[in-house]
Subunit: 253 residues, 2 copies
């Protein structure tokens, strides 16, 4: 009986991602970061700065996955509504946290700590703070939900800070096999058979277009190193045979 | 009575995005493309290549928004399950489409059109094809769902091809105001008041960290040009006054 996987969802909060004004950089970083640590990212959602939307997504995701990580909406301005949304989702009040105020005072003079800035110290009752080594204004964690800033460098600092306290599961190993110019259609059948015989593995074929030509890569992912290695060997055999027999030269331009 | 907004969700399908192997480029492109055309992107979800997950997300999103755009999972390999998932979601059979076969034959010799490649011609009953000017294998549209490839250059070609047939609503105008090094906390209160007086607008403050220092930008978004212009003028006044009175020099490092 293998250990239970630890799963996660990422909830990206912000009108600016949906409008295209900001190009998200947090999804890719979180995917790499969590995967490397044995936390399987299973779903991502991007929602606007609207409390009802955040609450609905959060309450679905937090019951479905081991952890939910959120990014965005914890600054000092009116459009930063994440803390309030988390409070609604958990049914707890949101109040100024003296520990957070102390952190803000490391960067902001007391006379400059106006009402807007104090908003950055508001956290739902029962939350622990998550360190922000970039600009001190903390994120927080309540239950299985970790609330982080949207600015990538700060989000990355917060994710790194919280990581040691997270439960992790068996890491998913990934091995890539370059299929290069061999068309997917040439190896799809064999690959499908190998995938069928390895239900515990995730085997994917990923084309990209480089200079107008397809460049394909096959990726084998799984938690059992031997299983992954065996599937990789089988796939490499298929690729080698296609090349050896010239069947990698399909007339696709 | 302003015209009804046209809304959309984007459903990104693929294990490779969730594992971090592939960094999504389609969300940002679709957000810009749809926003420019008067289609408001309201939600994005990323789900794995798992039929049940795709079906659940699709059936939620297609009833909630004017359009749902999907990316990924329409190639020839076993992990390309999007067409089947759409069939399940709509409760219709998925079968090979002769029009799609003809398109594949523009690039693939008939003797090379094996079972795997024919998979790329499978579409749900009642679907229209969406042109793929890059590699001919088409996307498709059924009801308010537009199914596109995951490879960015192909996704972009498909989105461009389908765009003329889409209903559009009033465009959302966006104006950015550079706040530069003025800390958000210095203008948050005034900005909040302006936002409160303009409930039809989306006003956001977006910090970024450049060389370890915050660089802030305020964005006003809305469908009423006069309303946007008035809010922008009010915000510019706030920023100008902060600079004039030296209150842009908060001691934040």
């Amino acid at each position: 009986m293998p250990p239970k996987p630890v799963t996660a969802a990422l909830l990206v909060i912000g009108d600016e991602i949906l409008s295209g004004r900001t190009k998200d950089k947090n999804i890719g970083f979180a995917a790499d970061f969590l995967t490397e640590r044995g936390i399987d990212l299973r779903e991502v959602r991007v929602v606007p700065d609207v409390i009802d939307e955040i609450v609905a997504a959060l309450n679905t995701l937090r019951h479905r996955y081991s952890y939910v990580f959120t990014t965005g909406g914890i600054g000092p301005t009116h459009d930063d509504v994440t803390a309030d949304a988390i409070g609604v989702a958990f049914g707890v009040p949101v109040a100024e946290d003296p520990r957070a105020i102390e952190l803000l005072l490391q960067r902001i003079k007391r006379e400059d700590l106006n009402a807007a800035r104090r908003r950055m110290a508001r956290v739902p009752a029962g939350a622990e703070l998550v360190e922000n080594s970039v600009s001190t204004a903390p994120g927080f964690r309540i239950g299985n939900v970790i609330v982080m800033a949207g600015v990538p460098v700060i989000m990355q600092a917060m994710l790194t800070a919280v990581a040691p306290s997270l439960e992790t599961g068996p890491r998913t190993l990934a091995v890539s096999i370059a299929a290069g110019n061999i068309p997917e259609g040439a190896y799809a059948a064999a690959l499908g058979t190998i995938a069928e015989h390895n239900p515990a593995l995730s085997i994917g074929s990923y084309p990209s277009v480089v200079d107008g030509k397809f460049n394909n890569e096959i990726v084998v992912r799984g938690k059992d190193a031997e299983g992954v290695a065996a599937a990789v060997a089988a796939i490499e055999e298929v690729i080698a045979e296609l090349r050896a027999t010239g069947r990698d030269k399909y007339t696709i331009t």
